[in-house]
Amino acid sequence: MNIMLHMPALLIVLPLLAAFVTPLIDKLSRKARNAFVIAIVVIEEIMMLFFAFHIFSGNIAIYTMGSSEPTKLVTEAAVPIRIVLEVDAMSAFMGIISATVAMAAAIYSISFVEESKGKGKFYTLLLIMLAGMIGMEFTGDLFNMFVFLEILSISSCALIAYRNSDGNAVEGAFKYMVVSNIAALLVLFSIALLYSQYDLLNIAALSKVISYTELDKVALVLLVTSFAMKAGSVPMHYWVPDGYSPAPASITAMLVSATQASLYALFRVSFTLYGKVITASYIGVFLIILGLLSMFIGVTMALSQKDIKRLMAYHSVSQTGYMLLGVGIGLYLLNTSDFNTYGIKAMEGGIFHIINNAMYKGLLFLTAGAIFYRLKTRNLNEMGGLAHSMKYTTLFFIIGALAIAGIPPFNGFASKLLIYEAAYRVSPILSIVAMIVSILTLASFVKVFHSAFMGAKIYEVEEAPKSMLIGMAILAAVIIILSIFPGLVVDKIVAPAAHALANWQVYAGGV
């Protein structure tokens, strides 16, 4: 059997199966369970990398579940009952992010949540969350996207409330649940609207026949708004700090890539599903406006926070703004002559920023978790002088902070540079706002660095445990690789993803 052929299904099924096996192994011994989970996430990562590079070399993988020939679809005239997975470069790109962050988070969690009971459930939910993310990114039809969206949000809600002795955690989880549930219901409603007209659920098949009627417009508005809310863009970002801050740190890192899965869905809908008709809409301008608002409001709110994870959560809103700005410029310029000159560069910047953000934001959340693990507080006012005792954590924090602020050798700078230039070409104001936001980001991380790590030694604490350091080191290593070889990464990984997103015909032609 050709393993590459079955890879899309395997990548989703493996964490799902592991998730259900974990509680059984948990009954045997804890060590076995930890080893099992780590083995699974590492295998998943390796498989994902192999598969992704297979995809990046110009293939589109299609997998029809339950069919005797999985790569072949049923004919278009037949009812599209079967579940179809379709993986193009963009999906594979998102898949790499999810798998990497999940690997780091799973390794990090070994000692991070050791003291609390019900750890088997923790890993079950984490693996289900991973399966949900990958499923959402790999699926080729809209309804499956809804199902995986719900799987993702249910498991992540349960994980946010994992420390349920903390009132804030439960409250954040409640808010996230209500918000994501309503978003998902409206997504389902718009799927119903689309289905009622075309009798199709497959994204590729739909994108060929979509004709932009009134109902399509309603569906577009609902889909874009819902996914934007799930991605946490201003002014629907309120759940982000509430949900991110009380969750266990490894889960917060996962949540970052979960919101990016929603962002992927947003891009997929606006680029591919409505790719044929998108010139007739203002959706690109809408994304740019959302991006600008997200960047500015996110960063200014972050500046005045004193809870370290809330601060970082607001930064993640602000970074989402960069992605929306970059990809929004691409969408705005799509089908114009400027697209091939700088529109595609903006999109590359936005997409490159997705992987950058997942890595350094994940790393920063993990360092915040390490601080919380030792000090049992998230309040910046009660910290200080940690650089004396937590040397590696400090190092990782510096790497993450410099990367997020866009200080030159790091990857954040590369992606921001791409966005700045293209944005300047569209309108100088966009670029200036982006730069101001970048400066404010640096400023707020200087604040964190100063108040948490600098100063005299106040607390007698030890360095974070080894597994946590390994988890952080993985992400830091990825950041450094991304920083040193930005050209290579953009050429090999990001550009295929951007082109896959920009050309809906390729995706639609895959079916």
């Binding site: 199966l17 096996v21 579940m65 579940i83």
Partner: protein
């Protein structure tokens, strides 16, 4: 609750259970399937809980056992799916078509033969197990929470 309610609940329980099995097993023939049947059986469990009170049911229902059943159901489901993949066809491929057990799959309308679904009855059963255990344990967990508070 009073004797009357308790007695009736106890007598209805096997009826609801067998009806739920009927719905689960005939999922590919009549309306119903794994989820519906599972919901019925879970409702029957809730009925017992309501009629007898948690205190009397405590020794009979355990969270551990339920979660074991739940995991088993899910694993069966995934493994049956994977079997098709390992056989080299595709995930969730209906392997049993044409085989003597569950094999005979006529095309179009039939009079409702039980063994005409291929792997569908197995999948339905797996989903049923999962749903029974899952929904019961949801209600049980919420009741436990209430109990723990007072």
């Amino acid at each position: 609750m009073s004797i009357v309610v308790r007695t009736i609940a106890s007598s209805i329980f096997p009826m609801a259970l067998i009806f739920s099995f009927y719905v689960i097993m005939h999922g590919h023939l009549t309306p119903g399937g794994g989820f519906q049947g599972g919901a019925i059986a879970a409702s029957a469990v809730v009925m017992l809980l309501a009629a007898h009170g948690y205190k009397r049911m405590e020794s009979k229902l355990s969270m551990d056992g339920l979660s074991f059943v739940e995991s088993t159901g899910a694993i069966i489901f995934v493994v049956v799916g994977l079997a098709g993949l390992i056989a080299g066809v595709s995930f969730m491929y209906n392997l049993l078509v044409g085989s003597p057990i569950f094999g005979y799959v006529p095309h179009g309308a039939n009079g409702g033969y039980l063994n005409s679904g291929g792997i569908l009855p197995i999948l339905n059963l797996a989903v049923g197990l999962k749903v029974i255990a899952g929904l019961s344990s949801v209600v049980l967990a919420m009741i436990l929470f209430t109990e723990g508070e007072e």
